[in-house]
Symmetry: C2
Subunit: 332 residues, 2 copies
């Protein structure tokens, strides 16, 4: 009897090529690349594994009833919100993610954003364009306080880097945690509003779940200090964008750096673009040079485990929407 190699259906964003780094799968699996609804519906019945690089995909749910052979879904992203539809949650098919790959690069990015604000580099660059020499005083980082919402592997790495640069850093997690090694204090999410006023920087590093959707609304912005800046590298819908725009306009908070948005790309006519206290980046905080190959290598490592019948790494708790600490087992 011939050994039949498993079928991996690779779902990318429309018109994206397959990511680099999947070459080692040759001979071990049959990789079928699709990038749209029609392709997915056609390919999914034969799929043993669904490999999703399009973190915004909205078509997997429709294909789900046809996924007769499917035994594993892997997302090459930290956030898996696009895949958490009821049928997948209810199924016994494991969902794994890219936990660990982006931690360090996102933490570096967040540190850079805090310094961009503190040292006022935007004004420096603008003055350079005008060839104007203007001495200014800038803020210190040392002794400032950050509140990181989300104490998973990304939030934790952010906390480590900010603390290493002289800030105090508290975390917001699903529940209080005593003696956390990476944070000064970790508070349960019920205490968010109480902890917001003292933060100079509020960093959203949480997954998008029912618990976090819309968490940052007018009430939260009103609780923040008028000198505080919001940094969102988590998911756009954790912030109520209209409330944020209003808060920025009336000076309820001092600024924001946003890498993720309720609608991506951010529409060209959106008022956020022209606010000079806002930094808009393009869902790229974690995407270091070589990130795609690193994601492929992580998938292949898990594929080898799957092939050998070993437990998968980074299995998402589908009810909670993220990989719990004890299930990560990630070598990154």
């Amino acid at each position: 009897m011939a050994v039949v190699s498993p079928v991996i259906v690779l779902l990318t964003a429309p018109h994206d090529p397959p990511p680099p780094g999947l070459e080692p799968l040759e001979g071990l699996a049959q990789v079928v690349h699709v990038d749209d609804r029609e392709g997915l519906l056609k390919a999914i019945p034969a799929a043993d594994i669904l490999l999703v690089t399009d973190f915004r995909t909205a078509i997997v749910r429709e294909a789900w009833p046809l996924a007769e052979r499917l035994r594993w879904v892997h997302a090459t992203s930290a956030g898996v919100d696009a895949l958490l539809f009821p049928e997948l949650i209810a199924s016994e098919i494991p969902l794994t993610n890219a936990r660990g790959i982006f931690d360090r690069s996102i933490a570096e990015y967040v540190l850079g954003l805090t310094l961009l604000f503190a040292k006022d580099f935007r004004t420096t660059l603008a003055l350079q364009e005008q060839r104007v020499w203007r001495h200014r005083e800038t803020e210190r980082m040392q002794g400032r306080h950050a509140l990181v919402v989300g104490a998973g592997s990304i939030g934790r790495q952010i906390a480590r880097m900010l603390r290493a640069s002289g800030l105090t850093v508290d975390g917001i997690a699903s529940r209080d945690r005593a003696d956390d090694p990476d944070f000064d204090t970790v508070h349960g999410s019920g205490r968010l509003l109480e902890r917001l006023p003292e933060a100079d920087y509020v960093v959203i590093a949480a997954p998008l779940t029912d618990a976090t959707r819309g968490m940052f609304n007018t009430e939260a912005f009103t609780a923040m200090a008028p000198t505080a800046r919001l940094i969102n590298i988590g998911r756009g819908p954790i912030v109520v964008t209209d409330d944020l725009v209003a808060a920025l306009r009336k000076g309820a908070i001092a600024g924001a750096a946003l890498d993720v948005f309720e609608e991506e790309p951010l529409p060209p006519d959106h008022p956020l673009w022209e606010m000079d206290q806002v930094v808009i980046s393009h869902h790229m905080a974690g995407d270091f040079i070589g990130w795609q190959a690193a994601l492929s290598a992580q998938f292949i490592d898990n594929f080898e485990r799957w092939s050998e019948g070993l437990p998968l790494r980074n299995i998402v708790d589908k009810e909670r929407g993220y990989v719990p600490p004890d299930r990560g087992n990630n070598k990154q």
Copy 2:
């Protein structure tokens, strides 16, 4: 016999007001504020102490022969190059400086500049102005290598912060030092050219002395990697500006962030202004909000020591041009 309070001649830059924070001297000293040549020449004969806040001053040498009563010169800057003229060097009058005050804020600034380059925030801000969404990949900091030229208190703090953010950091000092706690390795300045090729970031944090003037010339830029960036927060004349411009034009190095210049302010027609791989700031890297009051407090602390006959802190070795490690004794 009445106690005569000492006369402090305060020399500021032209048209600058006296710095904040000197109020506690009232009743303890007579402070005479001057801001130009004429004022200094008139005031200096009565001066017991010369307090210099203008780090670019060129008029102290001319006034020197009239300084009959002078017993102490204090500069509210880390660099004292403007005061190192032969007559002051030869005299027994102690020269003290602001060692320690700027260390942390300059180190934060340098860390911010490395992240500005690595995360390409300049392009991000430019795209925002054009309302263009363009995903990009950016560099990691982790594992990059920095070479810090100058292993005094500022260079040392830079090394600590860069290492805390995941870089390896070597130093260049007057001589090799084994087992330095703050650097991976400290090399003697004779090995500069040999160490330059491996650095992703070269940071100039040295005082301006005969040994460092013109240290960064075409030969140094040729030794640097074409992907490397130069950061100068030391003194402008450590860099041969024309050589730097040529090196940037031909791609011998990838970029530069300059806070100090051979001529300050940088003239409006200088070619550096319009290079988009160059960040121009305005001799402000260390000037955190509250810096002047901190400088005044440091002077007053030393003034109290002087009044009580205690040894002064931060006495500059006038031959070497900086405070040697064993003379700092600084509480900052």
